[in-house]
């Protein structure tokens, strides 16, 4: 099997702004720091599965509506 390079993209910034939440509001809701939310939004940091599920649940969305895996530079 060949290794596939890809990247996890997310819509957290869009979803957060749609709901009128600040980064700190979201951070408090999922038990992370504001800096971590900022890093996830900028796609500098990929959250653990646990945090990714917590984020999805807070937004009330399906997992793949929030996160998606993009092959290559996507």
């Amino acid at each position: 099997m060949s290794r596939e390079d890809g990247k996890v993209r997310n819509r957290i910034r869009d979803l957060r702004i749609e709901r009128g939440w600040s980064q700190q509001d979201l951070a408090d809701a999922v038990g992370a720091s504001r800096q971590t939310i900022n890093a996830i939004e900028q796609e500098k940091y990929s959250p653990s599965l646990e945090l990714a599920f917590r984020l999805t649940r807070v937004f009330g969305e399906e997992f793949e509506e929030v996160f998606r895996y993009v092959r290559g530079d996507g």
Partner: protein, 158 residues
Amino acid sequence: MSPQENRVAAELALWGALLLFIWMRLTDGTVILGQSLGTVIVEQSPGRLLWTYVAAGVIAAIGQLIIRAVVFRKEKDAPADERERFIERKADQVAYGAGVVTVHLVIGHVLLVAFFDRSDVVALDFTSTAGILLVLLTVLLVQEIVRGVATLVLYRRT
């Protein structure tokens, strides 16, 4: 900067100051801040070496206590989350690598001195009590400094 970054930056300054203190106590060369610092290791009595070692430990402990006292309340309000723990683990790996590289550099240096048997050609002869104390404390502090720098860089990049 987050409370964690503030603490790391303060600790970095502490380790840098401690490294300077140890080199000022154990080496001779250029005069900086009224103290001599250079590439010649100064042989000292066991009592003075012990004093330097204990003083370094006391400075490190008091410095850490002050830093924790100033930053601790903020850290308590915002405990480290998974990204911060990830950064700490990565920084530990980088520091371990730096420690290994530094030890190998010291081994190479010691062998070079032994091979040529000319400590006047190769500066810093570590094969003395003061030299051993200097090199061991330097390796420890270099590791801590690399850990701090790596942590701050990772906070910017991750």
